[in-house]
Amino acid sequence: MRNTKWAAVVGLVALALGVGAVQGQQQPSGEYKIGVLEPLTGNLAVQGKLHLEGYEIMRDLINSHFGGVMGKKLVLVSGDAVDPTAAASEATRLAAREGVKIITGTFSSTLCGAASEAASRQNVIYWETSCVDPRFTRRNLKNVFRTEIDGTGFGWYNVEFIAKHLAHRLGKKTNELKIAYLSEDSSYGQSVTESARQRAKQEFGMQEVGLEYYTFTTNDLTPIILKLKNANPDILHHIARDQDAILFWRQAREQNFQVKAVVHAGATGYGNPGFGKAFGNDANGPFALLEPGPGLIIEKFRPEGQRVERAFREAVKAKTGSDVLAGGHQLAGGGLWVLKLVLDAAKSDDLDKFRAAVMSLDLPVGSAVNGWGVKFDETGQNSNARVQHYMLQWQNGSLVTVWPEEFTTNRAKWIPLGPWDQRK
């Protein structure tokens, strides 16, 4: 009997050790706290809350499956960055009152500049996961890092897709392609558009036949559509905010504007689920550069990337009940995962050691969440080529991944786009 009890105890201990061995991590001891700044009220709150949820899901995953950060349990303390003023004051509060050494956030390009300036004044590391304003990493601030590509990266990827996928599908050489640029006039729209224009012309010799900027609250886009009809482009590179994409699509249909492909970048405009809700199957056709969506072949990632991607997707599904990840979840979760890798390598939040760890991190595509790789430059910006992005297309009311083809089971359709009533 006594031997049986001892055998049971030994068995339980062995089982516990075995679970640990399967997970390959020690249980974290102690706590490590970082700040999270997101707009949790106001007009940007929907996306801000999605980002916060993404951080929380990844935090729980890191603590339960991946040994925390630097061997400690990761703890988040959040602040509401409703506008740039609040972003700066909350960043100061998190640093001064909460004592955090690292702040992450903030979704919007209108917020990240102010928040990171305030963090810099407090000598705190600022780890941006989603704002795409190119100026963010061009201020010579040594404490600032960004895991997501910036607006110029979106332009780079869009031209990559046009040159390496659309051109041959349209039966044209890249220098035969006629491209028109249309964009809302924020820093986001302008940075994406200008970088796309530059690369399309200099590297591929594409023919620019139109360029138009507009305020996203404009009430009538018919004059622009008439100009585009005159220009007769093969491809429309359109960076839209939200309601302007809906207005443009409706009015383009009214004017029977025929273009062979429409290419967008980002989670706004054509990348917003609201576009599909507005039009249903009539939304079919446009492309949007985003994080990976339905159709992704996770097996194409490297083993370590597959492991964390699967775990993250399961955790998101457990939390939200959905198989489809929101962009906010993917950007926040992906960014926090890279931060964990850096902290584990640096074993410190001292800025010099942390920065050295950031610069030495060199992971190929497919190594992390979203299939990202990592290679930061001296400005603190992760590289375009490593932060793998994906082209999604509206197909029958859903955005599905269609490019790069090696990463997806879906294929791009309607190239060239047919008449409006035949895109079924």
Binding site: V46, Y213, P223, Q255, F279
Partner: protein
């Protein structure tokens, strides 16, 4: 390419939308001398009424328009009683703060209730387009234009020939003399405010099949409606209609000829230019802003 006919059609249809919003605004100002900064938010709420009636009850927006007019009147009456009545005799500064406060409150209420997502009423006929002479007419915009002209004509006739309209004009001209003549000015203001809200409510329902709705949707229209109201002459309904068409023409033709980025510069330059030459607007009565105070 039939560019010129299309530009003319776009001007008329866009101008109709601006006029529809401006007419209620100018009515309220004309009688009450209150600039309603919450006008855009009432427009937004009416767009949500159309959206939810369509999504939940499958009501066509034009059915909703008919059904909801009493609702908008009641909402206007109630908002006057609760918010405007206490400040109707206060200074303009107090009234401005009150309507701005109401505007912010309604915007944030919509944000809390329905989030910032843009929503769109996609009727079966949303893509139906009439093509005449190379120009494309969106059916929903044609309806909005016709209703705008109808509302303007109806309000003009109401103000000119009905007893209530005469009472409203009398109150606008001299509040104290009207009270001495036995007019219940408080009731006149309540009716005026409510009718103004009915106008903007109708505009919101008619806009729902054309534009997406979100909590700040009213702002993109109401600034231009203010321009049309001032340009047409404060309190002048026909002036507001014509001014709305002028603003739309500048916006549409300027966007095509010079560039979309210039459209606001163009119509605001026109606005400033006309006010320099005619401070009371195109059709306004000199000193109208001081009447009845």
């Amino acid at each position: 390419m039939h560019v010129i006919p299309q530009l003319i059609v776009s001007t008329l249809l866009l101008g109709g939308i601006y006029a529809l919003i401006a007419v209620g605004l100018t009515l309220i100002f004309g009688v009450m001398r209150v600039v309603n900064f919450a006008h855009g938010e009432f427009l937004m709420l009416a767009m949500y009424v159309a959206f939810w009636a369509f999504s939940l009850l499958h009501f066509d927006p034009y059915l909703t328009l008919v059904v909801s007019l009493p609702l908008f009147f009641a909402a206007g009456w109630a908002s006057y009683r609760v918010v405007m009545r206490p400040v109707i005799h206060a200074s303009h500064n107090v009234q401005i703060f009150t309507t701005v406060g109401l505007s912010i409150a309604l915007q944030n209420l919509a944000l809390v209730l329905w989030t910032a997502d843009a929503r769109f009423v996609r009727t079966d006929y949303y893509a139906v387009v009439v093509r005449i002479g190379g120009a494309a007419f969106n059916v929903a915009q044609i309806v909005a234009f016709v209703v705008a002209v109808g509302f303007t004509a109806g309000l003009f006739a109401f103000m000119r020939w009905s007893y209530t309209g005469k009472v409203m004009r009398a109150t606008a001209q001299d509040r104290q003399a009207s009270a001495l003549m036995g007019i219940d000015t408080d009731r006149v203001y309540a009716v005026t405010w409510a009718v103004g809200i009915v106008c903007v409510g109708a505009a919101g329902v008619l806009l729902a099949p054309i534009y997406p709705v979100y909590p700040t949707a009213g702002l993109q229209f109401v600034l231009i409606a203010y321009v049309a109201v001032v340009l047409g002459g404060l309190g002048d309904m026909v002036g507001a209609l014509i001014a709305a068409l002028v603003v739309a023409a500048v916006e549409v033709i300027g966007s095509y000829v010079i560039g979309t980025a210039w459209k606001e510069v163009l119509y605001l330059l026109l606005f400033i230019g006309i006010l320099v030459v005619r401070p009371a607007g195109l059709f306004g009565q000199r000193g109208a802003e001081a009447l009845g105070t």
